[in-house]
C-alpha cells in the first residue's frame, strides 16, 4: 500500500487500519485546520471593508448567476485601497446579517418573505444596512416581488424610480443616461427611501447579467455591460458613503 510506504513502514491491510486508528487524532486536527483555513478565506478576516452578503431568501439559495457577488467585489477592489472580502451567503434570518453592511440579492422568479425575514430586514435597513437587488435576465417576476415585499417591510416608505439627478448616478462614474438594449427607453434604478435615505436599490433590467456575465445569459437585452459595470460600482460606492 502506497499510503503505508509513505508512513515509512510496510504494513498489511490489517496493520494499516491500526495505523489509522493510532493517528486518528492527527487526522482530525489536520482536517480542522484545513477547514479553518477555507472558512477564513470564505468569510474574510473581518478587517476587509466591503463585506457583501449574498442573500438566501425564501426558496432561493443565493446561487442565481453564480459568481456575480465575486464579480461585484472585484469591481470595487479596482477603485478602493482597502482589502475587499469575498461574498458570503446570508439568510435574512441569520445573526450574521447584522454584521454585513451590504447585501446583494438577485433571482429570476417571484418570491415572498416570511414574517421573521421581513422583521429582520426592516431592522437591518433601519440600522444602516443596504440592500442591492437585481432581477436576472430582465425577468419581470423578481422586480415585481421586490416592490411588493419592500412595501411590506416599510408600509409607509417610498418605493420609487430614482431619477438621473440622484447622486447614485455620479458618486464615482458620471452616468447621464442608461439606455435599454431591447426597448427604446431609458432604464432607471428603483429605490426604497426611508426618512429621505436610500436604503435599497433594484434594477429590473438584468443589471447583474450585465456587470457579471457580459449579458451572455441575456443576449441583446437589458443594459450594456460597460454601463452595467459603472452602475454597479456607483451603487457600491454610494452604499459605502451614504
Amino acid at each position: 500500500m502506497d499510503g503505508a510506504k509513505i508512513l515509512g513502514t510496510e504494513l498489511s491491510r490489517w496493520n494499516w487500519r491500526l495505523v489509522v486508528k493510532k493517528h486518528l487524532g492527527i487526522y482530525v486536527l489536520l482536517t480542522l485546520v484545513a477547514w479553518g483555513a477555507v472558512w477564513g478565506q470564505a468569510t474574510g478576516d473581518g478587517l476587509s471593508s466591503f463585506f457583501m452578503g449574498r442573500v438566501k431568501y425564501s426558496k432561493n439559495d443565493g446561487n442565481d448567476c453564480r459568481g456575480v457577488g465575486r464579480n461585484l467585489a472585484k469591481l470595487v477592489s479596482q477603485v478602493s485601497t482597502v482589502p475587499i472580502a469575498d461574498e458570503k451567503r446570508v439568510a435574512f434570518t441569520d445573526p450574521v446579517l447584522f454584521e454585513t453592511p451590504f447585501l446583494f440579492m438577485n433571482g429570476h422568479r417571484s418570491f415572498a418573505l416570511n414574517g421573521a425575514e421581513l422583521e429582520n430586514l426592516r431592522v437591518y435597513l433601519e440600522h444602516g444596512g443596504f440592500l442591492f437587488a437585481s432581477g436576472c435576465c430582465t425577468n419581470p417576476a423578481f422586480p415585481e416581488a421586490w416592490r411588493r415585499e419592500m412595501r411590506r417591510v416599510f408600509p409607509s416608505a417610498q418605493v420609487r424610480r430614482i431619477d438621473y439627478t440622484h447622486p447614485i448616478y455620479r458618486v464615482f462614474y458620471r452616468i447621464d443616461r442608461v439606455r435599454s438594449l431591447h426597448r427604446n427607453a431609458d432604464v432607471f434604478l428603483e429605490g426604497v427611501f426611508l426618512d429621505n435615505r436610500l436604503v435599497s436599490v433594484m434594477c429590473e433590467d438584468g443589471l447583474c447579467c450585465a456587470f457579471s456575465a457580459n449579458n451572455s445569459c441575456n443576449v441583446g437585452r437589458g443594459i450594456s455591460p460597460q454601463v452595467g459595470k459603472k452602475l454597479a460600482l456607483n451603487l457600491a460606492v454610494y452604499a459605502m458613503t451614504h
Binding site: G46, L47, S49, T81, P101, H127, G128, R170, V237, H242
Partner: protein, 740 residues
C-alpha cells in the same frame, strides 16, 4: 590604532643564543654540584625568564603610529550646533557661516582632491550628519562639549582619519572629556584643525525668538500676543522697543524691560478683535541706532482666526472606502449644525484624495493652506497611516490641532496603528505610544467595550436619558479587531478599554489628550460601526455618542480654562509664575467658582507641583512652580472630576551657559591644534582649503618623520617589579637549598 615593534631588534638575534648558551652551562654546573632535577628546573626557569625580560628591555619596545597610507583617507568634520552658534553677525548666524564655508569651499575642495569628509553635528552630544541634515538642523544645543565630540567621532572610525576639523566658535561649556580627547588625538596621531567663527570680542545680542498667539479666538474676547526674547552679554541691554502690527498696520508699542546678563524672557500685548476674520499679528524689535547692541532676528508673526461661527464643520479623511464614514455620517445627520465633508484616498502609495460627497459641503481635495483647514473644527483620520499623507499635510494637521485649537480623531485598528507611526510628524498627535514591531493582523478573541470612570464623568458618554447609561453601554456587541498600544502618554486619559484584558497587552481602546490648544483622540477599533448595525442596538445611542464626541472635540478652542504665562524671565533655578483663568460661560451665569487641580511635570514626567485651586470667572489665579533645571515643563489643569481642561508647555532654558561669553575662543582651538600637530585659524583666514587638504593627504615617507611617530611602549613599573620578584624567588630558592 597602532602597531607594536622593537626599535633595536638585533638584541633578540644576539641575545637569545647567548641566553640559551648560559642556560646550558648553568645546567651542567648544577648537575656537577649534584643538585636534584627539580632544583635545576626551578633555578634554570627563573634565570631564563629573567634573561628574556632583560632582552625585551634592551630591544626597546615601541608602538608605531599609522602612517597616512594606513589611514582612512577621510577627514572628520565637526560642526558646532550649540546655541552660541545662533548669534547673528554680518547678516547671518555663525551656524549659517559654517554651512556656507562647507558648501562653497570645503566640499568642492574635498571633491577635487578626492578626499572624503565625514560630517558630524555636535553640541552636548555627537550626531552623524549628511548635507540635508546639516541644512535642516538648528543651532539650539544647550551645551558645547568639543572633547566628547572628538572622542566619540574617533571611536566610531575603524581606522584613524587623516584629521579632525572642527568648525566652531570655540566657546566650550563642558570640558570634562578634554583630557581623554587629547590622549586619543596624540595616541592615534590625528592632527586637529580648528576653524573659529564669530567676532573677537564679547558683544551684546538681542533677538526676538518667537511670537505666540491663540490660533482661534471669539470676537470681543481679550487675548495675548506674546514675544519671547533672548539677550546675551553681561551688561544690561540698552533701550529697545517692541511694536505690534496687525495686518501690517501699527497697533501698539512698548519698551523692552531692562535687565542684566544673558536671559530668556517674555513680553506680551493684550488685544481683542470686534469681528470675525483672520489676522496676522507681527511683533517688531527696534532700537536706537546710537546704542551699542547687535540685533538678531527682529520680526516674527502669528496668525489668529476670530470666529463665532455656529456651523460645526467636520472633515473626514479616510485611507480608503470604509464603513466607518457611512455610519458616522448617519449618526451626525441628527445634528443640523454639524456639516460633514468626506475625502477618500483613491490609490495605494498616493496622497491624492477624492470627495465622497455631494452637495454644498463636498470638498474636492485636501486643503492647500492652513487657513482652509482651519475652517473645520474637527478632522477625523480613519484608516490612515502617516505615509498616506504628505509631509506638508501632516504639518498642517499638527498646526490645525496645536495652534488653531482643532479637534482631531484618529480611527483604526491594528492595520492602521502600526510601527509606521513611530517618529512620524503625526506621532506627536497620538495620545499613545505604539510598539516598534509590525502590527499583528487577524482576529483576536472577542472582547467587550467598557468605558472607564473618567469617561463616565464626561458628557460624551451620556448616551441614554433613561438613567440607565451604564446598561446602555453594556448592550454593545462584541468586537474582535483592535489596535495594540504600547503605553499611554503622560497627561492623556483612557476613556474606553477592552474586557477581558489580554495579559501583556494594554487594554486601552479610546484615549484622549490635549495637544496645544486642541484635542486629539484615538479610537483603536477597526469596526465600531458594528455597534449601530447590531440587531439589538439602540441606534440613537450610537448617534448620540458620535454627536457628543464631535462636539467635545470641537471644543478644543472653546475651552473654559486657560493657562497664561505672565511676562517674566524663563530661566532655570527660578520660580515660574502662571495664571489660571476661567472663561465666563454665558450658558451658566450662576456658576461662580470652580475647583480645579493644577499639576506641573518636568521633562522626565516627575511631578513638580500638584495644587488644588479655587478659581472665579475672569479673576486669574496666580500660582508659581520652581523650575530647577532647563527643559520643557507641562502644566495641566483638571476639573474636580479629573478631566483635563487645559494644558500648556513652558520652555525654560539656561542661556547663561551658552551666552556668558560670546567672543570666539581661538586660543582654545590653538591649544587643541598644538598638542596634536594641527592648526587653528579664524574663518576669515582660512585661505586655500584645497592646499590644506592636499597636505593632509600626502603620505608620510620621511623616515625621520616615521621615527617621530614612534612612541616608547617599554617596560614600566610592573616590569621592574616582576624582575625583582624573580630575583627574590631565586635568592630564596638558593638560600633554602644551601647554594652559594
Amino acid at each position: 590604532m597602532s602597531q607594536w615593534g622593537f626599535d633595536n631588534p638585533l638584541v633578540w638575534y644576539l641575545g637569545l643564543p647567548t641566553v640559551l648558551g648560559v642556560g646550558v652551562l648553568a645546567v651542567r654546573n648544577l648537575r656537577r654540584q649534584g643538585r636534584s632535577r627539580r632544583q635545576i628546573c626551578v633555578l634554570i626557569s627563573l634565570r631564563a625568564l629573567m634573561g628574556l625580560m632583560l632582552l625585551y628591555w634592551l630591544a626597546r619596545p615601541v608602538s608605531r603610529m599609522f602612517t597616512s597610507d594606513e589611514r582612512d583617507s577621510s577627514v572628520i568634520v565637526l560642526v558646532d550646533r550649540s546655541e552660541s552658534m545662533s548669534l547673528e553677525e554680518i547678516g547671518r548666524s555663525r551656524y549659517q557661516q559654517v554651512l556656507e564655508l562647507l558648501r562653497e569651499r570645503l566640499v568642492p575642495a574635498a571633491e577635487k582632491v578626492e578626499l572624503r569628509l565625514k560630517p558630524f553635528l555636535f553640541a552636548g552630544e555627537l550626531q552623524a550628519a549628511d548635507g540635508p541634515m546639516l541644512a535642516r538642523s538648528q543651532p539650539d544645543g544647550q551645551h558645547t562639549n568639543l572633547g566628547r565630540a572628538i572622542t566619540e567621532s574617533l571611536s566610531l572610525q575603524e581606522r584613524p582619519p587623516l584629521a579632525v576639523l572642527a568648525l566652531t566658535d570655540g566657546v566650550v561649556t563642558d570640558s570634562q572629556d578634554n583630557p581623554r580627547a587629547v590622549s586619543m588625538l596624540v595616541r592615534q596621531g590625528v592632527p586637529f584643525y580648528g576653524v573659529g567663527v564669530g567676532s573677537e570680542t564679547d558683544a551684546q545680542f538681542l533677538e526676538l525668538e518667537q511670537v505666540t498667539a491663540p490660533g482661534v479666538v471669539a470676537p470681543r474676547n481679550r487675548f495675548r500676543i506674546s514675544a519671547r526674547l533672548k539677550a546675551t552679554g553681561e551688561q544690561p541691554i540698552p533701550k529697545c522697543e517692541l511694536s505690534l502690527l496687525r495686518d501690517g498696520q501699527f497697533v501698539e508699542r512698548k519698551a523692552v524691560s531692562q535687565g542684566p546678563g544673558p536671559r530668556l524672557w517674555q513680553e506680551s500685548f493684550t488685544v481683542s478683535e470686534p469681528d470675525s476674520g483672520t489676522h496676522t499679528y507681527t511683533v517688531r524689535l527696534t532700537h536706537s541706532a546710537a546704542e551699542a547692541i547687535t540685533l538678531g532676528n527682529t520680526e516674527s508673526s502669528a496668525r489668529v482666526r476670530v470666529t463665532d461661527e455656529r456651523a460645526l464643520k467636520v472633515l473626514f479623511l479616510q485611507g480608503g472606502l470604509t464603513w466607518d464614514y457611512k455610519f458616522i455620517r448617519l449618526a451626525l445627520r441628527g445634528d443640523p449644525a454639524i456639516r460633514l465633508s468626506g475625502l477618500s484616498r483613491t490609490a495605494s502609495h498616493s496622497s491624492f484624495m477624492q470627495t465622497v460627497d455631494d452637495g454644498p459641503d463636498a470638498l474636492r481635495k485636501f486643503p492647500d493652506a492652513i487657513e482652509e483647514l482651519a475652517e473645520y473644527r474637527v478632522v477625523i483620520l480613519a484608516n490612515i497611516r502617516p505615509r498616506d499623507l504628505s509631509d506638508g499635510q501632516q504639518q498642517m494637521l499638527k498646526q490645525f490641532c496645536g495652534r488653531f485649537g482643532g479637534g482631531l480623531l484618529l480611527l483604526g485598528g491594528q492595520r492602521t496603528f502600526d510601527s509606521t507611526w513611530r517618529e512620524s510628524s503625526l506621532e506627536e498627535l497620538l495620545p499613545v505610544k505604539l510598539g516598534a514591531s509590525p502590527a499583528v493582523t487577524g482576529p483576536i478573541s472577542p472582547f467587550r467595550l467598557v468605558i472607564t470612570d473618567a469617561a463616565r464623568q464626561s458628557g460624551v458618554f451620556q448616551i441614554s436619558d433613561a438613567g440607565d447609561n451604564a446598561a446602555a453601554w453594556r448592550q454593545l456587541p462584541t468586537f474582535n479587531h483592535c489596535a495594540t498600544v504600547q503605553s499611554v502618554k503622560p497627561g492623556a486619559e483612557v476613556w474606553m478599554r477592552r474586557d477581558p484584558v489580554v495579559s501583556g497587552q494594554l487594554p486601552a481602546l479610546m484615549i484622549t489628550q490635549r495637544f496645544g490648544t486642541g484635542l486629539t483622540s484615538v479610537i483603536g477599533l477597526q469596526n465600531l460601526w458594528r455597534w449601530r448595525l447590531a440587531k439589538r442596538a439602540q441606534i440613537e445611542h450610537f448617534d448620540r455618542f458620535w454627536r457628543q464626541l464631535i462636539r467635545h472635540l470641537a471644543k478644543g478652542n472653546r475651552r473654559s480654562v486657560e493657562i497664561h504665562l505672565p511676562d517674566q524671565a524663563l530661566s532655570p533655578a527660578a520660580d515660574i509664575r502662571l495664571q489660571v483663568q476661567l472663561t465666563p460661560d454665558p450658558s451658566r451665569p450662576t456658576d461662580s467658582q470652580h475647583e480645579l487641580r493644577l499639576r506641573v511635570r518636568d521633562q522626565q514626567g516627575n511631578a513638580i507641583l500638584d495644587e488644588a485651586l479655587v478659581v472665579r470667572p475672569d479673576r486669574p489665579h496666580e500660582v508659581a512652580f520652581h523650575a530647577a533645571d532647563g527643559g520643557l515643563y507641562t502644566v495641566s489643569v483638571a476639573d474636580s472630576g479629573g478631566t483635563i481642561q487645559a494644558t500648556r508647555v513652558v520652555e525654560v532654558r539656561d542661556v547663561t551657559r551658552e551666552f556668558q561669553t560670546t567672543a570666539r575662543n581661538l586660543e582654545g582651538l590653538t591649544q587643541w591644534a598644538h598638542v596634536s600637530q594641527g592648526q587653528a585659524m579664524a574663518i576669515e583666514d582660512c585661505g586655500d582649503l584645497e592646499q590644506l587638504l592636499v597636505r593632509l593627504k600626502q603620505p608620510v615617507d620621511d623616515p625621520a618623520d616615521d621615527r617621530s611617530r614612534m612612541r616608547p611602549a617599554g617596560p614600566g613599573g610592573w616590569f621592574l617589579s616582576l624582575m625583582l620578584t624573580l630575583l627574590s624567588l631565586e635568592w630564596m630558592a638558593r638560600k633554602s637549598w644551601g647554594l652559594s
